[in-house]
């Protein structure tokens, strides 16, 4: 589903060029569950941004669902992000002035969907993530775990094929963090491809496929596996 070929990206940090990605090759199958770990500045986030079409590589090629992404212009990349990719951030990135419901709705609004069409979709996801009682609350009236659940609902409202989570539990206590991870894994179970960038080894270890990065390279890849069955996942908990 995802194929990166010889992908490189160099940033200018002061007058020091930093290789955030150094000739990365990676193939990800649909429905996989990956974690990316590594020290700060190893290129984890850049890899995630690259896969999420937020960043453009200096060289190399990127195929998403069989289509070459390098050739797309900004408009087309935005459309791909809207349709195929969901983002979950450490800082939630909810719009403070919009209610939980309106936040969840945003990707549909940007896509120009009619209110009558989006209402049932939002209703459904709110029900599914158990946010019924919180739908009309503003983000500041919600707990951290609830906020991240809202952010996840927003990420998957368009039923994307790919869910990218950058330190999704970084701002949460261990209990809420475990809940969020359980939710992400449940979504993966239902078929979404999940990629989690994390510092936390306990979370990283849960993934079926684990990548380790250093200096812009993938130095360790536990290897592509069949997505684990629901039974084995239960054994982990």
């Amino acid at each position: 589903m995802i194929r990166l070929v010889d992908l490189s990206k160099t940033y200018q940090l002061g007058d020091q060029p930093v290789k955030a990605l150094d000739q990365v090759d990676l193939a990800i199958e649909a429905g996989e569950y990956l974690s990316v770990m590594g020290p700060s500045g190893s290129g984890k986030s850049t890899l995630l941004n690259m896969i999420g079409l937020l960043d453009t590589p200096d060289s190399g090629r990127y195929f998403l669902a069989g289509r070459e992404m390098n050739a797309l212009n900004e408009e087309a990349r935005a459309a791909e992000r809207n349709r195929r990719i969901g983002f979950v951030f450490q800082a939630y990135h909810l719009l403070e002035r919009l209610s939980a419901r309106e936040n969840i709705e945003l990707p549909l609004v940007l896509a120009g969907m009619a209110p009558a069409e989006r209402r049932p979709m939002v209703d459904q996801i709110i029900k599914r993530l158990d946010l019924d009682s919180r739908a009309s609350h503003l983000p500041r009236q919600l707990s951290g775990g609830q906020r991240q659940r809202v952010a996840i609902a927003r990420a998957v409202i368009r039923k994307p094929a790919l869910l990218l989570a950058d330190e999704p539990t970084g701002n949460l206590d261990s209990h809420s963090g475990a809940e969020v991870i359980a939710l992400l894994e449940e979504l993966n179970n239902q078929g979404i491809t999940l990629l989690v960038v994390t510092h936390d080894p306990a979370i990283g270890q849960r993934a079926a496929r684990r990548l380790r990065m250093e200096d812009g390279r993938i130095i360790d890849d536990s290897g592509a596996t069949q997505p684990p069955s629901a039974d084995s996942r239960h054994a982990h908990r």
């Binding site: 719009l95 919009l98 990707p107």
Partner: protein, 397 residues
């Protein structure tokens, strides 16, 4: 993105920063109020002045002695013959000519008993009141007789009031420049025209005025003409007739049309100039919008990054922020018009005579102006917002 959604997101953003939005709107409102108030007053003044001038009727041509000329020997050699009463009479036979009024103006003492008043004295004929569209309050105007007129006078309403008070003036004798005149009429009040009191005038027959002021000729001949001919045609016929009589063109013709249109031009220019003065405060308001939009884009950098991650295109970001500036400016425009209406109301109460002309066209124009100001002020910050790199933007907190 749907228009309704853009509107909803933008209003929500503006309502969240209530005080800030209000102050920005106020800035634009003051500017729009200043521009529209000043131009409204200017346009009102224009209408008022033109009204004043056209109260004499617009089908009128004035002949004055002397010709302004530029150039060498012609100017030196030409001699100006005065316009005579015969010249005036000769114009009566021209086609379309309705009334011919010879005019001499001077000033002098008017005496009644022990009371003395110095006023303007105008020499004219019996057609003058009709030609100038002046009304008679009591008695009648000067008789229509040419030559050897009787010593009869008509008083302006102010003169009558000053000399006679509430007592009747008709049939009484006054002294005009030392000569005895009998009062035959009192004019209806006409008010002031551009500071000139039209009621503080005494009218006497033209031949008597000429000898009273010891003048060789008339100061002006006013000719009114019937509908159906243009001012130019009538003026041309008058020119031909007078050249025939004088041999040279030693007089000047002014048509009311011409005068009104040049007056109109001057006053329009004045209105625009005054409006531009108000435009300065609108400019300040626009700078307010720029400031607030630049701040907003900085504060919402992370949000812009998020929207981009959710699939917003650059164009959508541009649209959102441009709409925000536009909405601020339009709200300012509406508020400004309200402010102007309030100020006009107060002005109208304080100075009832103030000429005010509100036209919906100019109100719409003011709103349009506000919109243009908003777009111009918003375009640079919105452009910056759209140009942000989403990765960098997301890292901003």
């Amino acid at each position: 993105m749907r228009t309704a959604d853009v509107l909803r997101l933008v209003t929500r953003a503006l309502l969240t920063a209530r005080l800030r939005s209000f102050l920005t709107i106020l800035g634009i409102a003051v500017g729009i109020a200043a521009v529209s108030l000043l131009t409204t007053l200017g346009a009102g003044l224009q209408l008022y002045v033109l009204d004043n001038f056209s109260q004499f009727g617009s089908r009128i041509v004035a002949v004055n002695p002397g010709k302004t000329q530029t150039g060498g020997i012609g100017g030196l050699l030409s001699s100006t013959r005065p316009l005579s009463l015969d010249d005036a009479d000769s114009l009566r036979s021209l086609p379309f000519v309705e009334r011919v009024v010879p005019v001499v103006q001077g000033s002098g003492a008017i005496e009644f008993g022990r009371r003395v008043r110095h006023t303007d004295i105008i020499g004219g004929n019996g057609e003058m009141a009709a030609a100038w569209r002046f009304g008679i309050a009591q008695g009648h105007f000067l008789p229509v007789i040419s030559g050897n007129s009787q010593p009869l006078a008509v008083l302006g309403s102010r003169v009558k009031r000053e000399l006679f008070g509430d007592a009747g003036a008709l049939g009484r004798f006054i002294r005009v420049g030392g000569e005895r005149y009998r009062v035959v009429g009192v004019m209806a009040s006409k008010g002031q025209m551009l500071g000139f009191d039209l009621d503080d005038i005494v009218y006497i027959p033209i031949d008597r005025a000429l000898s009273l002021f010891n003048r060789p000729g008339l100061m002006e001949i006013d000719i009114t003409y019937r509908a159906g001919s243009s001012a130019q045609q009538v003026a041309e016929r008058i020119r031909q007739r007078l050249i025939q009589r004088h041999g040279v063109e030693d007089f000047s013709l002014t048509t009311q049309d011409e005068m009104l249109s040049s007056l109109n031009r001057i006053l329009s220019l004045l209105t625009v100039a005054v409006g531009a003065l108000g435009g300065i405060s609108l400019l300040v308001g626009a700078i307010g919008i720029v400031t607030i939009m630049v701040t907003t884009v900085q504060e919402r950098t992370a949000e812009i990054g998020l929207l981009r991650a959710l699939g917003a295109t650059r164009r959508q970001i541009l649209l959102l922020f441009l709409s925000e500036a536009l909405l601020l400016a339009l709200a300012g425009g509406l508020f400004g018009l309200l402010l102007m209406a309030l100020l006009l109301g107060v002005l109208a109460l304080a100075i009832p005579a103030l000429p005010i002309s509100l036209s919906p066209f100019y109100l719409l124009l003011a709103l349009l102006l506000a919109a243009v100001v908003g777009l111009l002020a918003g375009v640079s910050p919105a452009w910056r917002a759209a140009g942000l790199n989403p990765v960098d933007a997301l890292q901003q907190e």
